[in-house]
Subunit: 205 residues, 4 copies
Amino acid sequence: MANRIEGYDERIIECAQKEFLEKGYNDASLRNIAKEADVSTSTMYTRFGDKEGMFQYLISPTEELLVFLEKALEKYFSMNVDAQQEQYEESGEAGFDAIMDIIYANYPAYKLLVSCSPGDIYMDYLEKVTAIDVKYTLLFLKESDSLALREGRINEGFCHVVSTAFYSALFHCVEHDMSREEAGKYIKELRNFYGRGWSEYFKNT
Amino acid sequence: MANRIEGYDERIIECAQKEFLEKGYNDASLRNIAKEADVSTSTMYTRFGDKEGMFQYLISPTEELLVFLEKALEKYFSMNVDAQQEQYEESGEAGFDAIMDIIYANYPAYKLLVSCSPGDIYMDYLEKVTAIDVKYTLLFLKESDSLALREGRINEGFCHVVSTAFYSALFHCVEHDMSREEAGKYIKELRNFYGRGWSEYFKNT
Amino acid sequence: MANRIEGYDERIIECAQKEFLEKGYNDASLRNIAKEADVSTSTMYTRFGDKEGMFQYLISPTEELLVFLEKALEKYFSMNVDAQQEQYEESGEAGFDAIMDIIYANYPAYKLLVSCSPGDIYMDYLEKVTAIDVKYTLLFLKESDSLALREGRINEGFCHVVSTAFYSALFHCVEHDMSREEAGKYIKELRNFYGRGWSEYFKNT
Amino acid sequence: MANRIEGYDERIIECAQKEFLEKGYNDASLRNIAKEADVSTSTMYTRFGDKEGMFQYLISPTEELLVFLEKALEKYFSMNVDAQQEQYEESGEAGFDAIMDIIYANYPAYKLLVSCSPGDIYMDYLEKVTAIDVKYTLLFLKESDSLALREGRINEGFCHVVSTAFYSALFHCVEHDMSREEAGKYIKELRNFYGRGWSEYFKNT
DNA sequence: GATGAATGAGCCTTCATTCAT
DNA sequence: TATGAATGAAGGCTCATTCAT
């Protein structure tokens, strides 16, 4: 895998995950990780540069979600409008199922990102997710000739607000350590609720 | 103010706020705070017991919101059902305006709570807020003889999910340092959006 | 009582005893004592000058033993030689019973002295006890016209050694927190053993 | 030496010994030791883990005495009874000479143990020494068919008392910083005195 | 006389990082 | 490349003591 360091010792990343998950970024200790993984502290530096590098490596799998989201939305919006509307519900359902699968396939990475990150790393990530979503939501509103948009009752800022709220809620699955199954139900309910909200704004009359 | 330590030196709490806001709980240094406030480090301990005590003091004003929320909702629901429905929109608008006023009147406290807390302090707080909200939402649903509730399409868990999402979103004002004005608009939009979602569930047919 | 500070608050000395007993001199904290006794730390200074003064006050009752020992031995040796020998066993038994009573009547003071003292306080005390004992032992040896003493097989140094060993052993009662009863038996055995040793040296032929 | 840390800097242990000897465990400061030894404070932790580890290292040589005592007594008692009695005096003399040599060969370690230990370290050590001694004393009493033992005038408890008193006295050499020569005489006298005491109890009629 | 508050000194400990081997 | 050792910086915290009120 291109993203991975060759010859990487799986033991180290396991220990690092454990330490960061248990203590959070700041309180995690490289020495503990190294000791637990039975390597020298210095090795950590050879491998990852420094503490932040180590952490960045651990959360690097979360890039996948950004890529997927962009691709999925692009694909959806490359269809003609009729096809879009026809497949709206179905696409959404499948899409978010895929998203949750992606998250749970690399759960520790997302957990670290959401609950154990230093500074604004999670917030920046959330912003990236939201930005992608907003971009296509606006596209959809325009293609739908949304009356609310035309009349200025809503605008990009509004979309951003709602989208941020939604994805924050989505990541609460991770924050609260829901099981994959729980998370599925949670997201379904949430989408339902949001769907009703949005439907109002997509109307063109 | 009852909540305040008598004779308290305002300079210390200003410096403490600054340090915690800039660096977060873990990276904040009592020594720095003391140095900046031009007092001895020991004084911090005389005043607040320890680091956590200092932080707890700083966020103690956030209790106000919990009290207000409980009281406001209790008052609203102590009216008869007709009055409730008549004043729904108006009460909500005024209520959330008051909430945002409370938050912005002690902005640093809420900012610390939301963005700079150690461990699960913010999450616990959010849970408290949500619990109050859910309690009265369920009451309202029952009083409204909600069909969705009767048919089991929604339950307490669903309310909890939606409420958590809403208040998380609300605190994003603080997370993103919106101005009071921005926040006002943001919350209004959010309430609008959520209002549409909920209206579906309040129907009794 | 001459030895006591007038108007003294019994509560303070109880708490002080507890703290010193539990933590030893160095680790004991005046603030803890004050807090526990519900007085200000400063009061401790008004009463006792400083930490060492406080401790000295607590162990001051141990002076009694020195006084008693001196007086008892003096009285014994003020009798004529025949009376001395006649009452040797009886006097010894009664004397050490009285000594143990004195110790156990002020147990905390002796416990503090033996087990919780800073620096050489206990050792100095032990030296004082031993010095008294040695003084009279030598007197007894001379009066008995001890052959061993005359021939130089034993001397003051020897007496000092044996006496130190004996009183160290005596204070082991306190070190090991024996009950008064246990201590009584222990001392009796010890005196028996030492009595046999000494009897050899008291012979004048 | 197996017991030693390889490549160890003699300077550090010298300074550590000095500090602990002068101030006792609690008041000794790792910072002072480090400064005196011209290394960083952190180095102390690299070498010894923590303050207690450092101290334990310094007193670790005192294990030798326990080993020697056990071995010497075992060897003595593996001889037949006649040989034991024949060599009693000679063996004892040589044995305690060896013991004092062992102590004085690592004098600082024993001084730290006896005079500068935290908590019950010395007392625990003394108990170990005594336990070994008592074990073999009882063996000797049984082999000698001691009348006193048979008649219950003495028992294990008595042996423990006397043995504790003896070894406490022995360590007073260290407590009082006697020279090797002084200590030699002191112990000889002490053994003499105790020998007379014991002789009474070893009789089988 | 009592006290609340302040404080300078000092403690043990941990950390991320560097560097010679 | 791997590492053991070293380290400067910093951390939270406690203490005995003083002093103005």
